[in-house]
């Protein structure tokens, strides 16, 4: 019987689905809340309209994600003749994963980075910067490409866009309420002596926006971890992806390379504080911390290199 070296991560799956459920619930709460708040003055269908517009904006962003992202990064598409090594690497990875080959782009910037976007695996783009091409070795670059291809396979652009529709709708409502509701719910008071309707709408949308912001960042970090996992299994080289991540994030000061007993005046600033817990930066980061990612990759590495039975 063939054994599998794939270790599941049920905890990650549970956390991810919980966050997605909460985002969905938030969206429903926003629609219902707005419908109740302005129900008397603008009719019960109003909250629904706002919700639909929010989804519409999100879908538009999703459908054009490849063009928008390529333009924003000033990336150009490259042919196999222009970048044979890059294409060869992606060809092999796609054959290993049995997925359609995405288009390949290169952005002319020294910042080491890579991204994947597009509305579906068939219409996606994987883009790398010239900075990352110069910085990483072939193996490390392959690890990064496998990570990006996993984003494509997981349809992360679609997932994140759908998940952000509550935030988009709330943001639009907040803007509208600030300018007196564009005549939709401005001016008039709901009840005698109560809060004005536009203020209620503003507060509700601000609250929804804030919660959705935190949840989205949480979801984004989970998706990154999932892409790391899938990418490491695809190349079977978790170590290459780990060293690429270390190079990209400039994480020299995460794991000390120098003997820390050689204390100099400045070194007190360089040691990463070993304090656990939640700080504002860990709550709002789009990517998990380097330590978290390296830890997961080390687990996969251990399973892959376990001696044969």
């Amino acid at each position: 019987m063939a054994r599998s070296r794939f270790v599941g991560d049920a905890g990650l799956t549970v956390r991810m689905t919980t966050v997605m459920f909460l985002l969905g619930a938030l969206f429903v709460a926003l629609v219902v809340g707005i419908a109740l708040a302005v129900g008397s003055s603008a009719g019960p269908g109003f909250g629904l309209v706002i919700g639909l517009v929010g989804i519409g904006v999100a879908v538009y962003q999703w459908a054009n994600s490849d063009k928008v992202a390529m333009r924003a990064m000033r990336a150009r598409e490259v042919t196999p003749e222009q970048a044979p090594e890059l294409h060869g690497m992606i060809d092999r990875l796609c054959a290993l994963a049995d997925m359609p080959k995405p288009r390949v782009g290169v952005a002319d910037t020294s910042v080491p980075n890579a991204f994947a976007t597009g509305r579906s695996p068939e219409r996606s783009v994987v883009c790398v910067t010239t900075g990352i091409l110069g910085m990483l070795s072939a193996e490390e670059l392959e690890g990064v490409l496998a990570h990006e291809l996993s984003h494509v396979a997981h349809r992360d652009v679609l997932v994140m866009t759908v998940a952000s529709s509550a935030g988009i709708a709330a943001g639009m409502l907040g803007q509208g309420a600030r300018f007196g509701g564009l005549g939709l719910f401005g001016g008039r008071r709901g009840n005698n002596g109560g809060l004005p309707v536009w203020l209620v709408v503003l507060l509700v949308s601000l609250a929804v926006y804030a919660v959705s912001f935190i949840l989205l960042r949480l979801l984004s970090r989970y998706r990154e971890l999932a892409a790391d996992r899938a990418g490491a299994y695809l190349t079977m080289r978790p170590d290459a992806l780990a060293s690429a991540l270390k190079k990209i994030t400039g994480g020299i000061n995460q794991i000390p390379q120098r003997d820390l007993r050689e204390v100099s005046a400045a070194s007190a600033l360089c040691i990463a504080p070993a304090v656990g817990g939640v700080s504002l930066s860990t709550l709002t980061a789009t990517h998990p911390s380097l330590e978290q990612r390296l830890e997961q990759l080390a687990r996969i590495q251990a399973e892959l290199s376990r001696p044969t039975a």
Binding site: R5, M16, V159, A226, R229, A230, R306, T308
Partner: protein
């Protein structure tokens, strides 16, 4: 990918489809009669070597297994510039049973890797053919999609598309051929071509 895999962001590594390799011997007969292409007696499996001790053990097990038989073929491994390993098996091209024995050898490599949990790292198998004029074409089997395609390099970055299409049409009835031409991976510098 299904809806649940999309939502949970959890794709399992794709498993390799191993059995279609035994369709090659009869396809080799067809190639010889219809296109004058004869097997060169070589064959290779291309896979991604995982980091660590487990994989090295599995690979030396394979080499020992292939070398243990009475009519043991010559076996060697090499690494290409993309970080993939080619395990090459050489047999006597004059042997009429050569292709069948070769496929058995290649299958032994696959099953051993699969049994140790390295099946997701299998990329392709390559069986080269040559005609009297010196043209060479490799029959490539992609493990993940379970399909074959021909690959005929004529230079460092050139391939003979006419010959490839001719081979495809010859073998269409016998082998599952990769339908997407974009999936016909170029294997520059593959051993035996």
């Amino acid at each position: 990918m299904g809806l649940w895999e999309t939502i949970s962001g959890r794709s399992r590594p794709k498993r390799a489809n191993l059995d279609a390799l035994f369709l090659v011997p009869s396809a080799a007969v067809t190639l010889q009669t219809a296109a004058g292409l004869t097997p060169t007696g070589d064959g290779s499996v291309c896979y991604r070597a995982a980091a660590g001790a487990g994989f090295h053990e599995a690979q030396s097990d394979i080499v020992a297994l292939l070398g243990a038989a009475a009519d043991a073929p010559r076996v060697q491994t090499s690494a290409d510039s993309f970080g993939f390993t080619w395990l090459q098996v050489h047999r006597d091209p004059g042997d009429p049973e050569g292709v069948a024995a070769l496929c058995t050898d290649l299958h032994a490599v696959n099953t051993t890797l699969e049994a140790e949990g390295f099946g997701p790292g299998l990329l392709c198998s390559l069986i080269p053919f040559a005609d009297p004029a010196g043209r060479r074409v490799g029959l490539v089997y992609l493990y993940k999609s379970g399909t074959f395609y021909p690959f005929a390099p004529t230079g460092p970055q050139q391939r003979d598309n006419l010959l490839e299409l001719q081979v495809r049409d010859t073998l269409r009835a016998e082998l599952p051929i990769e339908p997407e031409l974009s999936g016909w991976l170029a294997l520059w510098g593959a051993p035996g071509l």
